[in-house]
Symmetry: C2
Subunit: 517 residues, 2 copies
C-alpha cells in the first residue's frame, strides 16, 4: 500500500483540523444547508387550544358588538355589501357568521415574489421568514455613538446590504427618507431605492391613495410592463389600515383598495400599543389585534375575493412606567408569539414584529432583546417576522451594522426553528456503540460527524468563537468594527439589483429620482 | 365639588406620568410580582412524545448493550448489588427493567435549601430557576478588554453580587480560584468564599473524595452542627460522575458516594460535547446524556434509595470547523431544551447549561447568545438553568458586569416563561367596549392598565428604554459602565451573608481561609 495515497483517507478518519477544513471547503447543495428561508416553526405554543378559542370568540364579540369606526365611504359600501351593519353611531359591525365565512374562504397561502425569481417567499403553515420593516427616522452611527436623520441613500444602502445577507429574507422599508420632504416623491423614491438595491421581495407604504397610481406606473416600468408586474408582484403594500382601538384609518383604506386593484399584496397592519391603544394585558391586546385584522380580512375579500393579504397583528409593548414604547421586552415576545399562534388558528398567512431593540446602540441589551423576540417569533411559526434586524431605539433608529449582525443572530434563531431531527441515524446508537466498544472513545472525525458539520450546524459570520488566547493573538477583534468593515465591503461592490441602463434612464426621465445615477 | 380634592382622582384616571409613578412607588406583595423563582415553563416542545420515547428506548439500549466502563470498586459493588451486570470487558450494563424501576421510584422533587430559608428552590414539574455555574479560569475586565486569572476574591465578589440579584436564584461556583494552588485548600476556600457571600443555595465541586470530610466539617460549623446541616443542606455537589462517552469518572463517583453519605444533594453532571465526546447530532447527544444520567440515577439510588439527585444532562455544542467548544449557538439551545423535555418525560428534577456566551466580552453577540439559550431553557421548563449568567469565552471567562446584566436578561426570559394568562379579565372585552364606545379612545390610565403595571410587566434594571432625545440629554449612558457602577455599589455595601464573628473565627482557626477577615 502506498503511504502517499493513504494519508488523505486517514486524515479524514482521524478528524484533524485539516480534514474538517477540507470538508468545509466543499460547496453544499442549497437543500442540504442547515438553515434556509421558510423553515417550519411551531414548537412554541404559549396559548392552549382553549386559549385560542376564547381569544377568537372575544374577537368575534368585539367585531359584532363594538365594530369599527371611520371607514371611508367606499369601505362602507364594500362592507355593507358583504353583510356588515352600519350603526347610527357610524361604526360598522361584523356579524360573526360573516367573519367565520371569510376565514373559511380566505387564502391559505400567499406568495411574495422576488424580482429575479430566486428568493420567492411561500407564506403558509408555520413557514418562517425574517426581514426588515418599520419607519425609523434616524440612522445610528455606532462608532460616533450618535443619531442623525435617515436619508434615501441610507435606505438604498440597507437594501444593498440586505440583498447580500442570507438570513434577511425580505426588505420592507425600514426607515423614512427624511431628506425628501415631498411625500409623493418620498414614497416613489422609497420604491426606487429599495428595488434598485435588492431583488428580494420589498414592502413599502403610501402616504396618500393618490400616490398609488404613480407607484404602479413605476413598478410596471421596472417589471417590463403591467402584465409582468401582475404575474409576479415583487413589491407589497404595508398598510396601517386601522388606528387602534377599533377604527379604520380612512386614507389607508383607500390606499388598500387601490393596491388590491393594482395587483399588489397587502399587509393588513394593526399596530396597537398594549396599555395605550390596546388593552394592557397580552391576551387583550391579541384579541383587539385579531378583531382588527379580521375586519381587514373581510374588507379585502369584499373588495376582491381571494386577494393576497397578510394578517398583520402587530401589537407592541409599552413601558407602563413612562408610557414609552418598548419592543424588546418579554411581553413583546409573548405578544408576537401569541399572534403567530392565532394565524395558525385561522389558517391564514400572518406577520408580526420581532427582533427590534429598545437600546440605542448594538450593545449587549440589543443582542438579548433582538434574540428574545426573534427566536420566539420563529419558534411559534410566524410566517413573516417584520422589524427583525437593524431596529433600535424602540423603532426610531436604524443601524446598518446591526442589520449585518442581525444576519448572524437570525441564523442562530433559524437553527432553533429547524429543531431536532429524531431518526435512527440521528439517535446514533450504532455510532455510540462503535465509539465506545473497541473504538477511539471519541466522535471527532467519524464519517457521521464530518457529514453533519455543514448540514446540521450554523456558523457565525462575524460572531467570535476563538479562545481567549487566539483572541489576543488576533488583536482582540471588535464585533462592531467587524460589522462596519463588512458594510464597507458590501457597499464597495456593484449592486447586482441595479436596473438595466435603459430602464433606469426611463425611470429617471419620468420620476424625480434622488439617488445619483 | 372641590377641585383640589378632585385632581388626584382625575390624574389617575387620565393616566398621567405622575399617576403611574405614584402607583409604581407602592410596594407590591411578593406573590403579585410579575416574575419570581420557580415559575412554570413548558410551552416550548422541540421533541414530540414519540421523539422522547425513541430517545428513551435508545438510552435503554445503550445502557443494556454498551454500558459504562471505569466504575470504582465501590460503585461496581453497589451497581451489581442493584442488578447490573459486570461484563468481561469491565463495563457495567444496566438491564432495562432495572432502569425503568429506578425511574419509577426516583425522587419527583428535590428541595435545594438556602442558608436563611428565604430562597429555597423547589425543583419539580416545569419550575424554572436560573443561576451561575462552571469552572472558568479567567476574569473578564470589560473596560480593559482583557482576561486575567480568576481568584478567590473574584469568586466571593460573584457570590456577593448574585446575592443581590433577584433573578439569580442560586450560585453554583462559576470560576476556579487560580490563586490557591493546593486543590484541597481551593475546594474548601471555594465553599467559604461562596457561602460567605450569599445565603442563596450554593453548588460546589470536589477534586478528590478525600476532601469531602473536611468540607462537611466546614459546613457543619457554618450550619451550627451536623443536625442543622442535614436538616437543610444549603450546599450541593456538582459532580462530573461520567467522562463521556459512557465511562464513569472513577474519583468523582467516590466523591458522590461521600456526598450522599454526608446528606449533600448531588448534581449528576454529564457534560458531553456533541461531535467530540458525544454524537454530533442533537438527538444522539441527548440519547447519550440521558443514558449516562440514568446510570447515575441507578447508582445514587443503589447507594441510598431516594437520595436527592439532579438529572444533569449537560451536552455542549462544538464548532465542528475548528473543534472549539461552542455554548451560545442555536444547537446549544436545542440540546438544552430537548434535555429539559426528557427530564419531564422521566418526571425527575433536572438541570442543564444555558445562558453562556462564546464571545469574549459582554457585547451584542453575548446578548443574543445568552438570551437564545436562556429563554429556550426556561420555555422548555428546565428546573435548573446552570451557567445562566456571567459566562464568556465558551465557559473560560467569568464577568461580574455580565452577571449583573444577566439579571436583566433573565428577568425578560422569566417573563416569557410566565406566559400569557387568558381569562375574562385579561381578554378585556369590557375594557375594549368601554374605551371605544363613549370612552376616551385609549387605555392609558384605566384602572386595569394601572393595576397591571407592576403585576404583568418586567422593567429592566440597567437596560435603556429612553428615546434618542432623552438618551442624549442623559449623556448617552453606556450599558457596561452602568453595570460597573452597580458592581461597585454592591461591593461597597456590607455583605448580609457574612458569618457571625464567632463562627468566622472558628472557621479561620480550623481552615486556611484565604479571603481577608
Amino acid at each position: 500500500m502506498n503511504d502517499q495515497t493513504k494519508t488523505p483517507a486517514r486524515a479524514i478518519r482521524s478528524g484533524g483540523r485539516a480534514a474538517r477544513r477540507a470538508a468545509r471547503a466543499a460547496p453544499l447543495a442549497e437543500n442540504l444547508r442547515a438553515i434556509r428561508p421558510g423553515m417550519e416553526g411551531g414548537t412554541l405554543k404559549p396559548l392552549s387550544e382553549q386559549d385560542m378559542e376564547r381569544i377568537h370568540q372575544s374577537a368575534l364579540d368585539a367585531l359584532e358588538q363594538i365594530g369599527l369606526a371611520d371607514a371611508p365611504q367606499s369601505g362602507i359600501d364594500y362592507l355593507v355589501g358583504a353583510g356588515c351593519v352600519l350603526g347610527d353611531d357610524g361604526r360598522i359591525r361584523f356579524p360573526r357568521e360573516l367573519v367565520e365565512e371569510t376565514i373559511a374562504k380566505a387564502n391559505r397561502s400567499v406568495t411574495l415574489f422576488s424580482r429575479d425569481g430566486k428568493t420567492d417567499l411561500n407564506l403558509s403553515g408555520s413557514r418562517v421568514h425574517y426581514g426588515t420593516a418599520g419607519a425609523a427616522v434616524h440612522m445610528v452611527d455606532v462608532h460616533g455613538r450618535s443619531y442623525r436623520e435617515s436619508t434615501v441613500q441610507d435606505l438604498h444602502d440597507a437594501a444593498r446590504i440586505s440583498d447580500r445577507l442570507d438570513n434577511i429574507h425580505f426588505l420592507q422599508r425600514p426607515m423614512v427618507c427624511r431628506d425628501i420632504p415631498d411625500n409623493r416623491e418620498m414614497d416613489l423614491n422609497s420604491i426606487y431605492a429599495t428595488t434598485a438595491g435588492t431583488t428580494k421581495h420589498v414592502g413599502v407604504s403610501f402616504t396618500e391613495p393618490d400616490f398609488v397610481d404613480d407607484a404602479l406606473e413605476m413598478l410596471h416600468m421596472i417589471a417590463g410592463g403591467e402584465g409582468k408586474w401582475r404575474e409576479r408582484p415583487f413589491v407589497s403594500n404595508s398598510n396601517c389600515f386601522v388606528v387602534p382601538p377599533m377604527k379604520f384609518a380612512t386614507e389607508s383604506c383607500e390606499v388598500m383598495e387601490k393596491c388590491i386593484a393594482g395587483g399588489m399584496p397587502v399587509l393588513l397592519l394593526s399596530a396597537g400599543m398594549a396599555g395605550a391603544t390596546a388593552p394592557s394585558t397580552i391576551a387583550g391586546a391579541i384579541v383587539q389585534a385579531c378583531a382588527e385584522c379580521l375586519a381587514g380580512l373581510v374588507y379585502v375579500n369584499a373588495v376582491k375575493p381571494g386577494a393576497p393579504a397578510i394578517f398583520g397583528t402587530w401589537p407592541f409593548g409599552l413601558d407602563l412606567r413612562t408610557g414609552a414604547m418598548s419592543v424588546g421586552s418579554g411581553e413583546q415576545a409573548l405578544l408576537t408569539a401569541g399572534c403567530a399562534q392565532m394565524h395558525k388558528f385561522y389558517g391564514v398567512p400572518g406577520g408580526a414584529a420581532a427582533g427590534a431593540s429598545d437600546s440605542k446602540l448594538p450593545d449587549m441589551q440589543a443582542g438579548w432583546e433582538q434574540m428574545c423576540t426573534a427566536v420566539m417569533a420563529g419558534l411559534s411559526g410566524l410566517n413573516m417576522v417584520y422589524e427583525a434586524a437593524g431596529m433600535h431605539a424602540s423603532l426610531l433608529g436604524f443601524c446598518h451594522e446591526s442589520l449585518i449582525l442581525g444576519d448572524d443572530l437570525i441564523g442562530q434563531a433559524l437553527r432553533c426553528v429547524r429543531g431536532i431531527e429524531v431518526n435512527d441515524e440521528t439517535l446514533a446508537l450504532d455510532q455510540i456503540r462503535a465509539t465506545c466498544i473497541g473504538g477511539p472513545g471519541h466522535y471527532l472525525g467519524t464519517d457521521q460527524t464530518l457529514s453533519r458539520m455543514q448540514s446540521d450546524y450554523v456558523y457565525p459570520g462575524l460572531g467570535d468563537r476563538t479562545s481567549p488566547k487566539e483572541w489576543e493573538e488576533l488583536q482582540k477583534p471588535d464585533l462592531l468594527k467587524k460589522a462596519s468593515a463588512r458594510k464597507e465591503q458590501i457597499l464597495r461592490e456593484r449592486s447586482q439589483a441595479r436596473f438595466d441602463p435603459a430602464t433606469d434612464a426611463a425611470l429617471r426621465a419620468r420620476f424625480n429620482i434622488h439617488l445619483p445615477a
